[in-house]
């Protein structure tokens, strides 16, 4: 019984992890048709911001919930203004440039913080579930993810900004028809996506130690979650995160975590082959 509880909690945690790490990527992909391959590095920098702030004596919740998104959002602003805006409509070139950006960011973080692992202890201690020791912080992550999801949904559904965002998902001309400058909408979207990635990095920072190369660990999972989910940002990402999260944890329990990751990637391949003309497939065909 306790064991089942553990498995369910782990599955929920994995789904939350996938949602959290892919939310920023999903927003940018869904609204701008941009695949940001530097996404993992955005998450990583959010983590570094949190850890560096905590070391400087700042409250950890303030660091992860406020500072991390601010810093990464600001980096997103610079990136959008200097790189991304010149490449709209050129998906492959954007992928290449953001991949270059990811290397650049890894290099810069290595330069500043050195190539050694840094970490910060989790602010919430563990608890006992029957005979199993559980991480209390994992529960916190699940709750925060639910909160972020609800806020995103409410913003999209009920606010003016949400209306524009839904327009942007249809295409830049729809934004223009609504009377807004697509360039400005894209800029804000990218910054928002980057800030969300920073937030994810901040929240996840206490769980694992960070290295400059840690971003690579996030990008693969976030990437396939978003691509499989398609351009319907919230439903798509929720569906694919739930699916992949469940598969990942079940295989992890049955074999080992690496096999869990592999199962997820193989399934993603099969999905891509089966739905080349799904939501995303049709969208790419039209846009190129």
């Amino acid at each position: 019984m306790d064991y089942a509880g553990v498995i369910i909690l782990e599955i929920l945690y994995m789904i939350a992890f996938l949602l959290l790490t892919s939310a920023g990527l999903a927003i940018i992909f869904g609204m701008m048709r941009v695949i940001n391959l530097a996404h993992g590095q955005f998450v990583m920098i959010g983590g570094y911001t949190t850890i560096a702030s905590v070391k400087a004596g700042i409250n950890i919740y303030f660091a992860m919930l406020v500072l991390a998104p601010l810093v990464v959002g600001f980096i997103g602003l610079i990136v959008e203004r200097t790189i991304i805006r010149f490449l709209y409509g050129r998906i492959i070139d954007t992928m290449l440039a953001t991949w270059g950006l990811s290397l650049l960011l890894v290099g810069m973080v290595t330069f500043i913080f050195g190539n050694t692992a840094v970490s910060v202890p989790a602010p919430i201690s563990g608890y006992q579930l029957g005979e199993f020791q559980m991480g209390g912080y994992n529960l916190f992550i699940i709750l925060v993810t639910v909160a972020i999801g609800v806020v995103m949904w409410a913003v999209l559904r009920y606010t003016r900004a949400g209306l524009i965002a839904r327009g942007a998902m249809q295409g830049p001309d729809v934004v223009a028809t609504l009377g807004y400058n697509p360039n400005k909408v894209y800029m804000i979207t990218f910054v928002a996506g980057a800030a969300l990635s920073g937030l994810a990095g901040g929240i996840l920072a206490p769980l694992t130690g960070l290295l400059p190369s840690s971003g690579g660990a996030y990008i693969a999972k976030a990437f396939i979650t978003v691509i499989t989910g398609g351009t319907a940002v919230i439903t798509g990402t929720l569906l694919s995160a739930s699916f992949f999260g469940t598969i990942n944890q079940i295989v992890s329990f049955a074999a080992n975590p690496v096999m869990g990751d592999i199962a997820m990637l193989v399934l993603a391949l099969i999905f891509l082959r089966m739905m080349p003309k799904g939501i995303t497939g049709r969208f790419f065909r039209d846009s190129t």
Binding site: I35, I83, F86, L87, I91, I92, D93, M95, L96, A97, W99, G100, L101, S102, L103, L104, L105, V106, G107, M108, T110, F111, G216, A220, F223, I224, I227, N256, V258, M259, D261, I262, L265, V266, A268, L269, L272, R273, P276, G281, F284, R285, T288
Partner: protein, 349 residues
């Protein structure tokens, strides 16, 4: 035969010069370094013909490089004599690419999806190979060895004589000949109908379909050929390093080759070769100090090229060179209109 100005004819004078340079290269660098640069150049060439001429970008070409390396190591441990493992290291990546490419191209997926699929395949291989520590992961008598990889296999030997292994400068000359031979194969492909149709597909896929060409078959074909060349590079790399580790499948390896190719130049064969050798050498130099990280430079370079020189350095130099030549010719005489037209069409491609 009517000429095809878009595809360069091979200039045998330059080719012989290249042969000479490669023959003497070990005098400039040490043999070990020169061999590695040649192997990287071959790897870049394999991606260059597929991306630059057929317009197909494999984000994870490291998969085929790595498969070549692992295939050689596994096969040579089991077989002992190196001829068959050498051939298998071309064949296995070619077959895997044909399966993946066929799946993708016959499913009419877009180029973005090709990027996603090739990348995911590389990630899977990397994760899997990293997790193969322990005795259950064996192919024949070859243990895959997980993150630590597979050391201690036989390097290439003289065909038929398993006891005479080749190591050191022979490895260099085998690698250099492989590169030159692969270059000639690429040239040959481009001079035949197969290569021209590929260029047509790069320019306008729908039109080629409407002309009655089986576009999916052509794409699968070049993907497979390209993977075989990458596999050859991987096999040589295994011989050079004398160990194979999962890092051959890493994202770093995948992005590096992509940067060599796009910086060197798309739509040329010499561009990827020069790009790989130059940037590879810079990487080796940077590896000796710790102030500036190599990825910092590579990243900045990739961004700069995508934004400023989307076709890379070699085509840009060629454009400037042609423009200068045109100017010079105009100054020397009025020149025949025909020639000018010819030059301007070259400038514009």
């Amino acid at each position: 035969m009517m000429n095809w100005p878009s595809v360069d004819r091979i200039n045998w004078g330059w080719f012989l010069l290249a042969v000479g340079i490669f023959a003497l290269l070990p005098l400039v660098f040490d043999t070990h370094t020169a061999t590695l640069l040649i192997i990287w150049a071959l790897f870049a060439l394999s991606l260059g013909i597929m991306w630059g001429f057929a317009g197909l970008l494999s984000f994870g070409h490291a998969a085929y490089f790595g498969l070549g390396a692992y295939t050689y190591a596994v096969a040579v441990i089991n077989i002992g004599e190196s001829t068959l493992p050498f051939l298998l290291s071309l064949l296995v990546p070619a077959i895997v690419a044909a399966i993946i490419g066929g799946m993708a191209f016959y499913g009419r997926i877009s180029d973005v999806y090709l990027g996603v699929i090739t990348l995911v395949v590389t990630l899977i291989l990397f994760k899997f190979m990293s997790a193969t520590a322990g005795d259950i992961y064996k192919i024949g008598s070859a243990r895959l060895g997980g993150f630590n990889g597979m050391p201690g296999f036989h390097t290439l030997n003289v065909p038929g004589y398993p006891d005479i292994s080749l190591w050191g400068w022979p490895t260099y000359y085998i690698s250099a000949s492989s590169l030159l031979l692969s270059y000639l194969v690429c040239r040959w492909i481009l001079a035949r109908t197969f290569g021209r149709v590929l260029i047509g597909i790069r320019e306008n896929e729908e039109r080629c379909e409407l002309l009655g060409y089986n576009v999916a078959a052509y794409k699968t074909g070049i993907f497979s050929v390209s993977a075989a060349m990458a596999g050859l590079a991987g096999c040589l790399f295994a011989n050079w390093a004398e160990i194979v580790t999962p890092s051959v499948f890493s994202l770093g390896q995948a992005v590096e080759v992509l940067i060599w190719v796009i910086v060197g130049g798309l739509g040329t064969l010499i561009g990827p070769i020069l790009g790989a050798m130059a940037l590879g050498y810079v990487k080796l130099l940077l590896g000796e100090q710790t102030v500036i990280d190599n990825s910092l430079i590579l990243g900045a370079l990739l961004i700069a090229v995508v934004l400023g020189l989307p076709n890379g350095v070699v085509p840009a130099i060629r454009r400037i060179w042609n423009a200068a030549r045109l100017k010079l010719r105009r100054r020397v005489s009025e020149g025949s209109t025909r020639r000018t037209l010819n030059a301007s069409s070259q400038v514009n491609r």
